[in-house]
Amino acid sequence: MIHLRDITKAYPLGTNKLVVLKGVSLHIQPGEFVSIMGPSGSGKSTLMNIIGLLDTPTSGSYLLESKEVATLDENEQAEVRSRRIGFVFQAFNLLPRMDALRQVMQPMLYQGVHRLEAEQRAREALHTVGLGERMSHNPNELSGGQQQRVAIARALAMNPAIILADEPTGALDSKTGEEVMNIFNELNRDGKTIVMVTHEPSVAEHAQRTIHIQDGLIFRNETNEHH
Protein backbone atom coordinates (compact mmCIF):
# COMPACT_ATOMS: atom_id res chain seq x y z
CA MET A 1 0.00 0.00 0.00
CA ILE A 2 2.71 2.49 1.02
CA HIS A 3 6.26 2.04 -0.25
CA LEU A 4 8.84 4.62 0.76
CA ARG A 5 12.39 4.21 -0.54
CA ASP A 6 15.33 6.36 0.52
CA ILE A 7 13.19 9.36 1.34
CA THR A 8 15.19 12.44 2.35
CA LYS A 9 14.00 15.87 3.29
CA ALA A 10 16.17 18.92 3.77
CA TYR A 11 15.14 22.48 4.58
CA PRO A 12 17.29 25.45 3.67
CA LEU A 13 18.52 27.12 6.84
CA GLY A 14 20.38 30.30 6.01
CA THR A 15 23.29 29.18 3.85
CA ASN A 16 23.20 25.65 5.33
CA LYS A 17 20.67 22.89 4.94
CA LEU A 18 18.78 21.28 7.78
CA VAL A 19 18.46 17.60 6.92
CA VAL A 20 15.39 16.25 8.68
CA LEU A 21 15.04 12.86 6.99
CA LYS A 22 18.22 11.05 5.99
CA GLY A 23 16.97 8.16 3.90
CA VAL A 24 13.84 6.47 5.20
CA SER A 25 12.53 3.26 3.63
CA LEU A 26 9.23 1.88 4.79
CA HIS A 27 6.52 -0.58 3.69
CA ILE A 28 3.01 -0.56 5.00
CA GLN A 29 0.60 -3.33 3.99
CA PRO A 30 -3.13 -2.82 3.37
CA GLY A 31 -5.12 -3.26 6.56
CA GLU A 32 -2.15 -2.56 8.82
CA PHE A 33 -2.25 -0.29 11.87
CA VAL A 34 1.18 1.26 12.24
CA SER A 35 2.38 3.77 14.76
CA ILE A 36 5.43 5.99 14.31
CA MET A 37 7.20 7.00 17.50
CA GLY A 38 10.08 9.29 18.18
CA PRO A 39 11.13 12.28 20.26
CA SER A 40 10.37 15.75 19.01
CA GLY A 41 12.76 16.86 16.28
CA SER A 42 13.26 13.26 15.17
CA GLY A 43 11.54 13.90 11.84
CA LYS A 44 8.36 11.93 12.53
CA SER A 45 6.04 14.81 11.72
CA THR A 46 7.92 15.52 8.48
CA LEU A 47 7.61 11.85 7.54
CA MET A 48 3.93 12.04 8.33
CA ASN A 49 3.50 15.13 6.12
CA ILE A 50 5.27 13.40 3.24
CA ILE A 51 3.12 10.28 3.59
CA GLY A 52 0.07 12.57 3.70
CA LEU A 53 1.19 14.44 0.56
CA LEU A 54 1.22 17.70 2.47
CA ASP A 55 4.91 18.01 1.74
CA THR A 56 7.23 16.72 -0.99
CA PRO A 57 10.48 14.82 -0.28
CA THR A 58 13.80 16.25 -1.43
CA SER A 59 14.71 12.87 -2.93
CA GLY A 60 13.53 9.29 -2.89
CA SER A 61 10.53 7.41 -4.15
CA TYR A 62 7.04 7.18 -2.72
CA LEU A 63 4.62 4.64 -4.19
CA LEU A 64 1.06 4.97 -2.95
CA GLU A 65 -1.03 2.04 -4.16
CA SER A 66 1.73 1.29 -6.72
CA LYS A 67 1.67 4.82 -8.10
CA GLU A 68 4.62 7.22 -7.84
CA VAL A 69 3.39 10.31 -5.96
CA ALA A 70 6.66 11.97 -4.84
CA THR A 71 6.91 14.07 -7.98
CA LEU A 72 3.32 15.30 -8.32
CA ASP A 73 2.61 19.01 -8.50
CA GLU A 74 0.53 20.79 -5.90
CA ASN A 75 -2.86 20.31 -7.57
CA GLU A 76 -2.23 16.63 -8.34
CA GLN A 77 -1.14 16.15 -4.73
CA ALA A 78 -4.37 17.79 -3.57
CA GLU A 79 -6.33 15.45 -5.81
CA VAL A 80 -4.68 12.26 -4.48
CA ARG A 81 -4.74 13.61 -0.94
CA SER A 82 -8.44 14.26 -0.96
CA ARG A 83 -9.36 10.93 -2.59
CA ARG A 84 -7.02 8.51 -0.82
CA ILE A 85 -5.93 10.02 2.48
CA GLY A 86 -7.94 10.94 5.54
CA PHE A 87 -6.33 13.18 8.15
CA VAL A 88 -6.84 13.30 11.89
CA PHE A 89 -4.81 16.02 13.59
CA GLN A 90 -3.76 16.61 17.18
CA ALA A 91 -5.51 19.99 17.16
CA PHE A 92 -8.65 18.46 15.53
CA ASN A 93 -8.50 21.13 12.81
CA LEU A 94 -12.20 21.50 12.35
CA LEU A 95 -13.50 24.45 10.34
CA PRO A 96 -14.85 27.27 12.51
CA ARG A 97 -18.56 28.14 12.58
CA MET A 98 -19.75 25.01 10.82
CA ASP A 99 -21.83 22.20 12.29
CA ALA A 100 -20.56 18.62 12.57
CA LEU A 101 -22.59 17.32 9.64
CA ARG A 102 -21.30 20.08 7.37
CA GLN A 103 -17.70 19.48 8.56
CA VAL A 104 -17.89 15.87 7.47
CA MET A 105 -19.56 16.77 4.17
CA GLN A 106 -16.99 19.41 3.19
CA PRO A 107 -14.25 17.11 1.76
CA MET A 108 -16.84 15.27 -0.32
CA LEU A 109 -18.20 18.57 -1.65
CA TYR A 110 -14.67 19.55 -2.69
CA GLN A 111 -14.57 16.25 -4.57
CA GLY A 112 -17.78 17.09 -6.40
CA VAL A 113 -19.88 14.48 -4.60
CA HIS A 114 -23.55 15.41 -4.86
CA ARG A 115 -24.89 17.22 -1.81
CA LEU A 116 -27.50 14.57 -0.97
CA GLU A 117 -25.05 11.70 -1.25
CA ALA A 118 -22.47 13.62 0.79
CA GLU A 119 -25.05 14.20 3.51
CA GLN A 120 -25.98 10.52 3.54
CA ARG A 121 -22.36 9.40 3.82
CA ALA A 122 -21.62 12.03 6.47
CA ARG A 123 -24.51 10.80 8.61
CA GLU A 124 -23.25 7.22 8.37
CA ALA A 125 -19.71 8.25 9.29
CA LEU A 126 -20.92 10.27 12.28
CA HIS A 127 -22.97 7.27 13.46
CA THR A 128 -19.87 5.08 13.14
CA VAL A 129 -17.92 7.31 15.54
CA GLY A 130 -20.91 7.53 17.89
CA LEU A 131 -21.92 11.14 17.20
CA GLY A 132 -25.32 10.45 15.66
CA GLU A 133 -26.96 12.76 18.19
CA ARG A 134 -24.73 15.80 17.82
CA MET A 135 -24.70 16.43 14.09
CA SER A 136 -25.99 20.00 14.24
CA HIS A 137 -23.46 21.22 16.83
CA ASN A 138 -20.65 23.62 16.00
CA PRO A 139 -17.10 22.71 17.15
CA ASN A 140 -17.25 25.16 20.06
CA GLU A 141 -20.28 23.28 21.40
CA LEU A 142 -18.45 19.93 21.42
CA SER A 143 -15.95 18.47 23.88
CA GLY A 144 -12.39 17.68 22.78
CA GLY A 145 -13.13 13.98 22.38
CA GLN A 146 -16.26 14.73 20.38
CA GLN A 147 -14.37 17.17 18.16
CA GLN A 148 -11.74 14.52 17.46
CA ARG A 149 -14.48 12.04 16.60
CA VAL A 150 -15.94 14.55 14.13
CA ALA A 151 -12.46 14.77 12.59
CA ILE A 152 -12.29 10.98 12.36
CA ALA A 153 -15.73 10.85 10.75
CA ARG A 154 -14.56 13.52 8.29
CA ALA A 155 -11.57 11.36 7.34
CA LEU A 156 -13.71 8.25 7.19
CA ALA A 157 -16.54 9.55 5.02
CA MET A 158 -14.21 9.96 2.05
CA ASN A 159 -13.53 6.22 2.22
CA PRO A 160 -9.75 6.77 2.03
CA ALA A 161 -7.05 4.15 1.44
CA ILE A 162 -5.28 5.23 4.60
CA ILE A 163 -6.11 7.26 7.65
CA LEU A 164 -3.23 9.40 8.88
CA ALA A 165 -3.42 10.42 12.51
CA ASP A 166 -0.96 12.96 13.90
CA GLU A 167 -0.92 12.69 17.72
CA PRO A 168 -4.70 12.11 17.75
CA THR A 169 -4.82 11.89 21.53
CA GLY A 170 -2.28 14.64 22.20
CA ALA A 171 -4.90 17.19 23.18
CA LEU A 172 -7.14 14.78 25.11
CA ASP A 173 -7.15 13.40 28.63
CA SER A 174 -6.24 9.73 28.96
CA LYS A 175 -9.81 8.48 29.30
CA THR A 176 -11.11 10.28 26.19
CA GLY A 177 -7.87 9.35 24.45
CA GLU A 178 -8.63 5.72 25.14
CA GLU A 179 -12.11 6.10 23.63
CA VAL A 180 -10.67 7.65 20.51
CA MET A 181 -8.11 4.84 20.21
CA ASN A 182 -10.90 2.30 20.48
CA ILE A 183 -12.54 3.87 17.47
CA PHE A 184 -9.27 3.53 15.54
CA ASN A 185 -9.06 -0.14 16.55
CA GLU A 186 -12.59 -0.74 15.34
CA LEU A 187 -11.87 0.95 12.03
CA ASN A 188 -8.75 -1.17 11.68
CA ARG A 189 -10.74 -4.33 12.38
CA ASP A 190 -13.07 -3.28 9.54
CA GLY A 191 -10.02 -3.26 7.26
CA LYS A 192 -8.85 0.36 7.32
CA THR A 193 -5.14 1.07 6.98
CA ILE A 194 -4.07 3.46 9.74
CA VAL A 195 -0.79 5.29 10.24
CA MET A 196 -0.45 7.19 13.50
CA VAL A 197 2.28 9.42 14.90
CA THR A 198 2.59 9.57 18.68
CA HIS A 199 5.16 9.95 21.40
CA GLU A 200 3.19 8.04 24.05
CA PRO A 201 4.09 4.33 24.28
CA SER A 202 0.66 3.48 25.77
CA VAL A 203 -1.03 4.95 22.67
CA ALA A 204 1.47 3.36 20.27
CA GLU A 205 0.61 -0.04 21.73
CA HIS A 206 -2.79 0.05 20.08
CA ALA A 207 -1.05 -0.45 16.71
CA GLN A 208 0.13 -3.78 15.36
CA ARG A 209 3.55 -2.40 14.57
CA THR A 210 5.59 0.49 15.95
CA ILE A 211 8.29 2.21 13.93
CA HIS A 212 10.81 4.12 16.03
CA ILE A 213 12.46 7.06 14.33
CA GLN A 214 15.36 9.12 15.61
CA ASP A 215 17.61 11.74 13.98
CA GLY A 216 15.90 11.26 10.64
CA LEU A 217 16.38 7.51 10.44
CA ILE A 218 14.35 4.43 11.37
CA PHE A 219 16.27 2.64 14.08
CA ARG A 220 13.75 0.04 15.29
CA ASN A 221 10.71 -1.67 13.86
CA GLU A 222 8.81 -3.76 16.39
CA THR A 223 5.64 -5.82 16.27
CA ASN A 224 3.38 -5.34 19.26
CA GLU A 225 2.89 -8.59 21.19
CA HIS A 226 -0.78 -8.54 22.00
CA HIS A 227 -1.90 -8.44 18.35
Binding site: D55, E74, A78, S82, L94, L95, R97, Y110
Partner: protein
Protein backbone atom coordinates in the same frame (compact mmCIF):
# COMPACT_ATOMS: atom_id res chain seq x y z
CA UNK B 1 -16.64 21.93 -5.85
CA UNK B 2 -19.39 23.70 -7.72
CA UNK B 3 -20.15 27.38 -7.66
CA UNK B 4 -23.40 27.01 -5.70
CA UNK B 5 -21.51 25.39 -2.80
CA UNK B 6 -19.01 28.24 -3.02
CA UNK B 7 -21.73 30.87 -2.82
CA UNK B 8 -23.28 29.00 0.12
CA UNK B 9 -19.89 29.04 1.86
CA UNK B 10 -19.34 32.74 1.14
CA UNK B 11 -22.76 33.79 2.42
CA UNK B 12 -22.16 31.69 5.52
CA UNK B 13 -18.87 33.49 6.13
CA UNK B 14 -20.48 36.91 5.61
CA UNK B 15 -23.38 36.06 7.90
CA UNK B 16 -21.15 34.69 10.65
CA UNK B 17 -19.29 37.98 10.99
CA UNK B 18 -22.02 40.56 10.53
CA UNK B 19 -20.30 43.55 12.13
CA UNK B 20 -17.20 43.26 10.00
CA UNK B 21 -19.17 42.51 6.84
CA UNK B 22 -21.22 45.64 7.44
CA UNK B 23 -18.12 47.80 7.91
CA UNK B 24 -16.58 46.30 4.78
CA UNK B 25 -19.67 47.09 2.78
CA UNK B 26 -19.94 50.64 4.11
CA UNK B 27 -17.50 52.01 1.54
CA UNK B 28 -19.37 50.37 -1.31
CA UNK B 29 -22.74 51.47 0.10
CA UNK B 30 -21.67 55.12 0.31
CA UNK B 31 -19.96 54.92 -3.07
CA UNK B 32 -22.92 53.47 -4.94
CA UNK B 33 -25.47 55.68 -3.17
CA UNK B 34 -23.51 58.84 -3.96
CA UNK B 35 -22.87 57.91 -7.60
CA UNK B 36 -26.55 57.22 -8.24
CA UNK B 37 -27.75 60.25 -6.31
CA UNK B 38 -25.19 62.69 -7.76
CA UNK B 39 -26.01 61.64 -11.30
CA UNK B 40 -29.71 61.99 -10.49
CA UNK B 41 -29.20 65.53 -9.15
CA UNK B 42 -27.06 66.46 -12.16
CA UNK B 43 -29.61 65.16 -14.62
CA UNK B 44 -32.38 66.89 -12.69
CA UNK B 45 -30.52 70.18 -13.06
CA UNK B 46 -30.07 69.48 -16.76
CA UNK B 47 -33.79 68.88 -17.21
CA UNK B 48 -34.57 72.05 -15.26
CA UNK B 49 -32.33 74.22 -17.43
CA UNK B 50 -33.66 72.75 -20.65
CA UNK B 51 -37.24 73.27 -19.55
CA UNK B 52 -36.56 76.85 -18.59
CA UNK B 53 -34.99 77.63 -21.95
CA UNK B 54 -37.82 75.96 -23.78
CA UNK B 55 -40.28 78.10 -21.85
CA UNK B 56 -38.67 81.09 -23.56
CA UNK B 57 -40.26 79.83 -26.74
CA UNK B 58 -39.65 76.82 -28.87
CA UNK B 59 -38.33 76.92 -32.43
CA UNK B 60 -36.96 80.33 -31.68
CA UNK B 61 -34.35 82.24 -33.68
CA UNK B 62 -33.01 85.42 -32.15
CA UNK B 63 -31.41 88.10 -34.28
CA UNK B 64 -29.35 90.58 -32.38
CA UNK B 65 -27.22 93.47 -33.59
CA UNK B 66 -23.47 93.06 -33.81
CA UNK B 67 -21.68 90.37 -35.79
CA UNK B 68 -20.52 87.13 -34.23
CA UNK B 69 -17.08 88.03 -35.55
CA UNK B 70 -17.05 91.30 -33.66
CA UNK B 71 -16.80 89.71 -30.24
CA UNK B 72 -20.41 90.31 -29.32
CA UNK B 73 -22.02 86.92 -28.82
CA UNK B 74 -25.03 86.98 -26.56
CA UNK B 75 -28.09 84.91 -25.81
CA UNK B 76 -31.57 86.29 -26.23
CA UNK B 77 -32.42 89.88 -26.97
CA UNK B 78 -30.12 91.76 -24.67
CA UNK B 79 -30.28 95.47 -25.39
CA UNK B 80 -27.59 97.76 -26.75
CA UNK B 81 -23.90 97.33 -26.85
CA UNK B 82 -23.70 95.68 -30.21
CA UNK B 83 -24.26 98.81 -32.18
CA UNK B 84 -27.57 99.96 -33.55
CA UNK B 85 -27.66 98.01 -36.77
CA UNK B 86 -31.13 96.44 -36.55
CA UNK B 87 -34.07 98.49 -37.76
CA UNK B 88 -37.81 97.93 -37.99
CA UNK B 89 -37.38 97.60 -41.75
CA UNK B 90 -35.28 94.47 -41.14
CA UNK B 91 -38.21 92.85 -39.33
CA UNK B 92 -40.51 93.81 -42.21
CA UNK B 93 -38.03 92.36 -44.71
CA UNK B 94 -37.93 89.06 -42.82
CA UNK B 95 -41.69 88.95 -42.57
CA UNK B 96 -42.09 89.52 -46.30
CA UNK B 97 -39.24 87.44 -47.69
CA UNK B 98 -38.85 84.41 -45.41
CA UNK B 99 -41.40 81.62 -45.60
CA UNK B 100 -42.30 79.04 -42.96
CA UNK B 101 -42.33 81.43 -40.02
CA UNK B 102 -45.12 81.47 -37.45
CA UNK B 103 -44.22 84.82 -35.98
CA UNK B 104 -41.79 87.73 -36.17
CA UNK B 105 -41.31 89.89 -33.14
CA UNK B 106 -39.04 92.90 -33.29
CA UNK B 107 -38.45 94.48 -29.93
CA UNK B 108 -36.65 97.28 -28.18
CA UNK B 109 -35.60 96.79 -24.59
CA UNK B 110 -34.52 99.26 -22.01
CA UNK B 111 -34.31 99.23 -18.23
CA UNK B 112 -36.49 102.00 -16.81
CA UNK B 113 -37.89 103.13 -13.55
CA UNK B 114 -41.65 102.49 -13.35
CA UNK B 115 -43.80 104.53 -11.00
CA UNK B 116 -47.39 103.89 -9.97
CA UNK B 117 -48.79 106.09 -7.25
CA UNK B 118 -46.38 105.91 -4.33
CA UNK B 119 -44.76 102.64 -5.52
CA UNK B 120 -41.84 102.39 -7.88
CA UNK B 121 -39.64 99.64 -9.31
CA UNK B 122 -37.02 98.97 -11.95
CA UNK B 123 -38.12 96.75 -14.78
CA UNK B 124 -37.26 95.82 -18.31
CA UNK B 125 -39.48 97.88 -20.62
CA UNK B 126 -40.01 96.09 -23.91
CA UNK B 127 -41.41 97.75 -26.97
CA UNK B 128 -42.97 94.92 -28.90
CA UNK B 129 -45.69 93.75 -31.34
CA UNK B 130 -48.73 91.41 -31.05
CA UNK B 131 -46.63 88.40 -32.15
CA UNK B 132 -44.82 88.53 -28.76
CA UNK B 133 -47.43 86.21 -27.22
CA UNK B 134 -46.84 83.39 -29.71
CA UNK B 135 -43.15 83.88 -30.43
CA UNK B 136 -42.18 84.14 -26.76
CA UNK B 137 -44.61 81.43 -25.73
CA UNK B 138 -45.90 83.85 -23.16
CA UNK B 139 -49.68 83.82 -22.63
CA UNK B 140 -51.77 86.62 -21.22
CA UNK B 141 -53.35 86.27 -17.78
CA UNK B 142 -56.04 88.96 -17.88
CA UNK B 143 -57.03 91.95 -19.98
CA UNK B 144 -55.84 92.23 -23.57
CA UNK B 145 -52.49 92.32 -25.32
CA UNK B 146 -51.08 95.08 -27.56
CA UNK B 147 -52.76 95.06 -31.01
CA UNK B 148 -51.96 96.55 -34.43
CA UNK B 149 -54.20 99.50 -33.65
CA UNK B 150 -52.09 100.41 -30.60
CA UNK B 151 -48.96 100.25 -32.72
CA UNK B 152 -50.38 102.31 -35.58
CA UNK B 153 -51.55 105.08 -33.27
CA UNK B 154 -48.55 104.84 -30.87
CA UNK B 155 -50.93 104.43 -27.92
CA UNK B 156 -49.53 104.72 -24.44
CA UNK B 157 -50.78 101.36 -23.19
CA UNK B 158 -48.86 98.75 -21.16
CA UNK B 159 -49.11 95.04 -20.35
CA UNK B 160 -47.40 94.17 -17.07
CA UNK B 161 -45.37 91.15 -16.03
CA UNK B 162 -46.66 89.40 -12.91
CA UNK B 163 -43.79 90.55 -10.70
CA UNK B 164 -44.29 94.19 -11.68
CA UNK B 165 -47.96 93.86 -10.68
CA UNK B 166 -47.06 92.47 -7.26
CA UNK B 167 -44.56 95.26 -6.68
CA UNK B 168 -46.55 98.22 -7.96
CA UNK B 169 -50.08 97.10 -7.07
CA UNK B 170 -49.69 94.91 -3.98
CA UNK B 171 -53.42 95.01 -3.24
CA UNK B 172 -54.75 94.70 -6.79
CA UNK B 173 -53.85 91.61 -8.85
CA UNK B 174 -55.79 92.98 -11.86
CA UNK B 175 -54.91 96.67 -12.18
CA UNK B 176 -56.62 97.13 -15.57
CA UNK B 177 -57.18 100.83 -16.33
CA UNK B 178 -54.65 102.00 -13.76
CA UNK B 179 -51.87 104.36 -14.75
CA UNK B 180 -48.12 103.86 -14.55
CA UNK B 181 -45.39 106.31 -15.39
CA UNK B 182 -42.27 105.53 -17.42
CA UNK B 183 -40.01 108.55 -17.56
CA UNK B 184 -42.30 111.47 -18.40
CA UNK B 185 -44.99 109.33 -20.08
CA UNK B 186 -48.16 108.01 -18.49
CA UNK B 187 -49.32 104.58 -19.66
CA UNK B 188 -52.65 102.86 -19.13
CA UNK B 189 -52.49 99.22 -18.00
CA UNK B 190 -54.47 96.98 -20.41
CA UNK B 191 -53.35 93.51 -19.36
CA UNK B 192 -51.23 91.25 -17.14
CA UNK B 193 -48.99 88.39 -18.35
CA UNK B 194 -49.01 84.91 -16.87
CA UNK B 195 -46.07 84.20 -14.59
CA UNK B 196 -43.27 82.26 -16.28
CA UNK B 197 -41.59 81.50 -12.97
CA UNK B 198 -38.18 82.14 -14.41
CA UNK B 199 -35.38 82.93 -12.02
CA UNK B 200 -32.60 82.22 -14.49
CA UNK B 201 -30.38 84.67 -16.30
CA UNK B 202 -33.35 86.88 -17.18
CA UNK B 203 -36.35 87.35 -14.99
CA UNK B 204 -39.20 87.12 -17.42
CA UNK B 205 -41.80 88.34 -14.96
CA UNK B 206 -40.17 91.69 -14.23
CA UNK B 207 -41.21 93.29 -17.53
CA UNK B 208 -43.50 95.99 -18.88
CA UNK B 209 -44.67 95.50 -22.45
CA UNK B 210 -45.63 98.52 -24.57
CA UNK B 211 -46.17 99.01 -28.32
CA UNK B 212 -42.87 99.07 -30.26
CA UNK B 213 -43.75 102.34 -32.03
CA UNK B 214 -44.54 104.04 -28.70
CA UNK B 215 -41.23 102.79 -27.29
CA UNK B 216 -39.20 104.13 -30.20
CA UNK B 217 -41.05 107.44 -30.36
CA UNK B 218 -41.58 108.37 -26.73
CA UNK B 219 -39.27 106.34 -24.46
CA UNK B 220 -35.93 105.83 -26.22
CA UNK B 221 -36.33 108.21 -29.10
CA UNK B 222 -34.43 105.85 -31.39
CA UNK B 223 -35.73 103.84 -34.34
CA UNK B 224 -33.36 100.92 -33.78
CA UNK B 225 -34.19 97.46 -32.37
CA UNK B 226 -32.42 95.51 -29.68
CA UNK B 227 -33.46 92.18 -31.17
CA UNK B 228 -35.80 90.38 -33.52
CA UNK B 229 -37.23 87.06 -32.39
CA UNK B 230 -38.56 84.73 -35.02
CA UNK B 231 -40.48 81.54 -34.41
CA UNK B 232 -40.26 78.87 -37.07
CA UNK B 233 -43.44 76.91 -37.82
CA UNK B 234 -41.68 73.58 -38.21
CA UNK B 235 -38.69 72.56 -36.09
CA UNK B 236 -37.14 70.77 -39.06
CA UNK B 237 -36.89 74.07 -40.94
CA UNK B 238 -34.80 75.80 -38.28
CA UNK B 239 -31.50 75.76 -40.12
CA UNK B 240 -33.11 76.66 -43.48
CA UNK B 241 -34.86 79.60 -41.85
CA UNK B 242 -31.63 80.65 -40.18
CA UNK B 243 -29.82 80.65 -43.52
CA UNK B 244 -32.60 82.51 -45.35
CA UNK B 245 -32.82 85.18 -42.65
CA UNK B 246 -29.06 85.67 -42.79
CA UNK B 247 -29.25 86.07 -46.56
CA UNK B 248 -32.17 88.49 -46.39
CA UNK B 249 -30.47 90.65 -43.76
CA UNK B 250 -27.13 90.65 -45.58
CA UNK B 251 -28.96 91.83 -48.66
CA UNK B 252 -30.84 94.49 -46.70
CA UNK B 253 -27.63 95.70 -45.09
CA UNK B 254 -25.74 95.49 -48.40
CA UNK B 255 -23.10 93.15 -46.98
CA UNK B 256 -21.41 90.60 -49.25
CA UNK B 257 -18.67 89.31 -46.97
CA UNK B 258 -19.93 86.90 -44.32
CA UNK B 259 -17.16 87.89 -41.90
CA UNK B 260 -18.44 91.47 -41.89
CA UNK B 261 -21.98 90.64 -40.76
CA UNK B 262 -23.33 93.31 -38.42
CA UNK B 263 -25.93 91.00 -36.86
CA UNK B 264 -26.06 87.57 -35.25
CA UNK B 265 -28.74 84.93 -35.78
CA UNK B 266 -28.88 82.67 -32.73
CA UNK B 267 -30.69 79.36 -32.78
CA UNK B 268 -32.56 78.48 -29.57
CA UNK B 269 -31.69 74.83 -30.13
CA UNK B 270 -28.01 75.81 -30.12
CA UNK B 271 -28.47 77.54 -26.80
CA UNK B 272 -30.20 74.49 -25.35
CA UNK B 273 -27.40 72.31 -26.65
CA UNK B 274 -24.70 74.53 -25.17
CA UNK B 275 -26.36 74.56 -21.76
CA UNK B 276 -26.96 70.82 -22.02
CA UNK B 277 -23.25 70.38 -22.52
CA UNK B 278 -22.48 72.56 -19.53
CA UNK B 279 -24.83 70.68 -17.23
CA UNK B 280 -23.59 67.40 -18.74
CA UNK B 281 -20.07 68.28 -17.62
CA UNK B 282 -21.50 69.20 -14.22
CA UNK B 283 -23.15 65.76 -13.99
CA UNK B 284 -19.95 64.06 -15.07
CA UNK B 285 -18.02 65.98 -12.43
CA UNK B 286 -20.40 65.02 -9.62
CA UNK B 287 -20.54 61.42 -10.80
CA UNK B 288 -16.76 61.34 -11.10
CA UNK B 289 -16.23 62.51 -7.54
CA UNK B 290 -18.72 59.91 -6.34
CA UNK B 291 -17.00 57.23 -8.44
CA UNK B 292 -13.77 57.98 -6.59
CA UNK B 293 -15.54 57.25 -3.31
CA UNK B 294 -16.77 53.95 -4.81
CA UNK B 295 -13.18 53.16 -5.78
CA UNK B 296 -12.01 53.93 -2.25
CA UNK B 297 -14.79 51.64 -1.01
CA UNK B 298 -13.30 48.90 -3.18
CA UNK B 299 -9.93 49.40 -1.56
CA UNK B 300 -11.71 49.00 1.79
CA UNK B 301 -13.04 45.64 0.65
CA UNK B 302 -9.56 44.57 -0.42
CA UNK B 303 -8.12 45.68 2.89
CA UNK B 304 -10.59 43.67 4.94
CA UNK B 305 -10.26 40.64 2.68
CA UNK B 306 -6.46 40.73 3.06
CA UNK B 307 -6.82 40.86 6.83
CA UNK B 308 -9.31 38.04 6.59
CA UNK B 309 -6.86 35.87 4.60
CA UNK B 310 -4.21 36.30 7.30
CA UNK B 311 -6.74 35.67 10.01
CA UNK B 312 -8.03 32.54 8.31
CA UNK B 313 -4.68 31.09 7.26
CA UNK B 314 -5.26 28.05 9.43
CA UNK B 315 -8.76 27.55 8.04
CA UNK B 316 -7.30 27.66 4.52
CA UNK B 317 -4.73 25.06 5.57
CA UNK B 318 -7.45 22.75 6.89
CA UNK B 319 -9.49 23.18 3.75
CA UNK B 320 -6.49 22.31 1.63
CA UNK B 321 -5.67 19.30 3.82
CA UNK B 322 -9.18 17.94 3.31
CA UNK B 323 -8.97 18.31 -0.44
CA UNK B 324 -9.63 21.91 -1.48
CA UNK B 325 -7.73 22.83 -4.62
CA UNK B 326 -6.24 26.24 -5.41
CA UNK B 327 -9.28 26.96 -7.53
CA UNK B 328 -11.65 26.24 -4.63
CA UNK B 329 -9.87 28.63 -2.27
CA UNK B 330 -9.53 31.28 -4.99
CA UNK B 331 -13.22 31.02 -5.73
CA UNK B 332 -14.20 31.05 -2.07
CA UNK B 333 -12.51 34.39 -1.42
CA UNK B 334 -13.50 35.87 -4.75
CA UNK B 335 -17.13 34.91 -4.24
CA UNK B 336 -16.97 36.34 -0.75
CA UNK B 337 -15.66 39.76 -1.84
CA UNK B 338 -18.06 39.85 -4.79
CA UNK B 339 -21.01 38.93 -2.59
CA UNK B 340 -20.01 41.70 -0.19
CA UNK B 341 -19.88 44.22 -3.04
CA UNK B 342 -23.17 43.09 -4.54
CA UNK B 343 -24.87 43.31 -1.18
CA UNK B 344 -23.27 46.72 -0.56
CA UNK B 345 -24.30 47.87 -4.02
CA UNK B 346 -27.89 46.79 -3.46
CA UNK B 347 -28.07 48.60 -0.11
CA UNK B 348 -26.45 51.67 -1.71
CA UNK B 349 -29.09 51.75 -4.45
CA UNK B 350 -31.83 51.44 -1.85
CA UNK B 351 -30.35 54.40 0.06
CA UNK B 352 -30.10 56.46 -3.13
CA UNK B 353 -33.81 55.88 -3.77
CA UNK B 354 -34.60 57.02 -0.23
CA UNK B 355 -32.35 60.07 -0.76
CA UNK B 356 -34.08 60.88 -4.03
CA UNK B 357 -37.45 60.66 -2.31
CA UNK B 358 -36.32 63.01 0.47
CA UNK B 359 -34.84 65.51 -2.03
CA UNK B 360 -38.09 65.31 -3.97
CA UNK B 361 -39.98 66.48 -0.90
CA UNK B 362 -37.77 69.58 -0.86
CA UNK B 363 -38.68 70.00 -4.56
CA UNK B 364 -35.23 69.17 -5.84
CA UNK B 365 -35.54 67.13 -9.00
CA UNK B 366 -33.36 64.05 -8.41
CA UNK B 367 -35.22 61.41 -10.39
CA UNK B 368 -33.00 58.34 -10.46
CA UNK B 369 -32.22 57.08 -13.93
CA UNK B 370 -32.17 53.31 -14.37
CA UNK B 371 -28.98 53.27 -16.51
CA UNK B 372 -27.05 54.99 -13.71
CA UNK B 373 -28.35 52.39 -11.23
CA UNK B 374 -27.28 49.53 -13.51
CA UNK B 375 -23.93 51.16 -14.17
CA UNK B 376 -23.18 51.82 -10.50
CA UNK B 377 -24.24 48.28 -9.62
CA UNK B 378 -22.08 46.66 -12.31
CA UNK B 379 -19.23 48.93 -11.30
CA UNK B 380 -19.51 47.81 -7.68
CA UNK B 381 -19.53 44.14 -8.75
CA UNK B 382 -16.43 44.87 -10.82
CA UNK B 383 -14.81 46.55 -7.83
CA UNK B 384 -15.54 43.45 -5.72
CA UNK B 385 -14.00 41.09 -8.26
CA UNK B 386 -11.05 43.37 -9.01
CA UNK B 387 -10.14 44.08 -5.41
CA UNK B 388 -10.96 40.53 -4.31
CA UNK B 389 -8.41 39.16 -6.76
CA UNK B 390 -5.27 39.91 -4.76
CA UNK B 391 -6.49 38.53 -1.40
CA UNK B 392 -7.99 35.47 -3.10
CA UNK B 393 -4.78 34.78 -4.94
CA UNK B 394 -2.78 35.20 -1.74
CA UNK B 395 -5.03 32.70 0.01
CA UNK B 396 -4.97 30.21 -2.85
CA UNK B 397 -1.21 29.99 -3.09
CA UNK B 398 -0.68 29.25 0.63
CA UNK B 399 1.06 25.89 1.10
CA UNK B 400 -1.18 23.64 3.21
CA UNK B 401 1.70 22.53 5.43
CA UNK B 402 2.63 26.14 6.28
CA UNK B 403 -0.96 27.19 6.65
CA UNK B 404 -1.62 24.33 9.07
CA UNK B 405 1.38 25.25 11.17
CA UNK B 406 0.17 28.87 11.42
CA UNK B 407 -1.22 29.80 14.82
Amino acid sequence: MNIIENIRNALGAIGSNKMRSMLTMLGIIIGVASVVLMVAIGQGAQRGVTQRIQSLGTNLLTISPGGSNQGNVRFGGGGGGGGATLKSTDATAIEQQVTGLSGVEPEMRSNEQIIAGSQNTNASVIGTVPDYVTVRNSPLQIGRFINQQDIASMDRVAVLGSQVVTTLFPSDPAPIGQSIRIGSNLFTVIGVMQSKGGTGFQNQDNVVLIPLSTMQQHVTGQSTLSSISVSVANAADMSTAQATITAVLMNAHRITDVTKEDFTVLNQADAVQTLDQVTGIFTLLLGGIAAISLFVGGIGVMNIMLVSVTERTREIGIRKAIGAKKRDILLQFLVESTALSILGGAIGILISFIGSFILGRYSIDATISIPSVILAFLFSVGVGIFFGMLPAWKAAKLRPIEALRYE
